[in-house]
């Protein structure tokens, strides 16, 4: 696994075809999913393996890096 900073995924919903491949490849524990049955958005992924981005047939998953100290703020919000 990577040693990168955690990331927050963003999904371009316009291109998402709800294929579920991102969830299928995701090594996170149960429940790391969005309300639209994709990988979770809006909360940090500390694995940051990016496999969901790789498997997406329409390349509509992107991410931004978050520093570890920012995660507490996000979770608090």
């Amino acid at each position: 696994m990577s040693h990168r900073d955690p990331v927050i995924f963003q999904i371009g919903w316009n291109a998402c075809i709800n294929c579920g491949a991102c969830v299928a490849i995701c090594p996170q524990e149960a429940g790391f999913i969005s309300d639209f049955d994709t990988i979770a958005v809006g909360r940090p992924c500390d694995i940051a393996c990016m496999l969901c981005e790789d498997i997406c047939p329409v390349t509509t998953i992107t991410h931004r890096e978050v520093q570890k100290f920012q995660i507490d703020e996000i979770n608090a919000a």
Partner: protein, 390 residues
Amino acid sequence: MPSTYDIVVIGSGPAGATTARVAAENGLRVLLVDKRQELGAPIQCSGAVSRHALEEVGVPITEEFIQEPIYGFGIYDHQGSASIIDYRQMKPDEYGTGDGKKPLGYVVDRRRFDRYLMTLAERAGVETWLKTEGLGYTPNGSDSCEIRLRRFNEDITVKAKVLVGADGLQSQVGKWAGLRTHIKITELASCLQFVVDRVETSGLLEIITGHEWAPGGYAWVFPKGHGYAEVGLGVICTMTDKNAQWHLDHFLQRSFFKERFADSRILEIQGGGVPLAAPLRTQYADHLILVGDAARHVNPITGGGIHTALSGGLIAGRFLAKFLTTGQPATAGNLKSYQDAWLEKLGDKMWQLYEEKTQIFRTNDLEERDRQLYRTMSSYFHPESEYKKI
């Protein structure tokens, strides 16, 4: 007091609905839940299934879900040379459209097919809840487990002796139990297909091999009924730096079929992850088993999962009915026999197919790999193939 069932099944696809139906037919009290409002959608599958697979599990073959009958296969190498396996010509007395003749299989409408399978379960006495999501489960001593559900925003806890995870490749149920469900990126094909108008088909499932068109997987052209076709492909993303969408455009515009596709119009867009992988090594835990895609009951060479889901559902439903009458606790140790039964009937052959597939993609020489894949696909679909019924 929570309602108590013999089994609760999460996910009403072919595997879940069949497990539920067979269990109810054999006297169990069954609850079948699905988070969706309409089954089958969003479609993540091309819908090809053999007639044998339907007959074997007692699913009546009806107009309600059939989109087009299938009579054989066309397997293409990367340049377009084909081996045509048309049962109408090979066994004309058995296969065809005339009296007493039958198709080899069908392309089904997954929305209607999945709904029909749930209907069969419901008619067999299964209680069915849509818009019901599974949230978690807790084994409760040796007797039963508690399953937390959310149905139309209401949190409900039910009890069951066994929870059946039939929640697909994205299975959360397997993760609840801590099973090793993770799939390797090299074994999950990224798939995209278009349902198109103005592409001719002739009752054959056409499979196009070759690294140039679908690195790590294959491309397909399937008849979809009403003059429509499905054109799609799956790729392994470690074998290409382009996505499935790029490869499908490339296939439509550059392949030896480009003239055939020249007037095509896209009517639907669908995608999915298709495992070209081995079955899960452990498909059971305390008070829990997995079936279908959740247990990775998918043919690792073709990526076909409907037949294996139906057959697996039959095995699971029968097993549970028999097991629960013995009064033994549904511990992981006792539920191992489910997996043993499944391995004996289907799984061992799937492991062999997996080895064969792995061997092909271990070949670094692309030309040799293309040759091997074409040869394997051609012999796989041949009437004499030992894997015919997987």
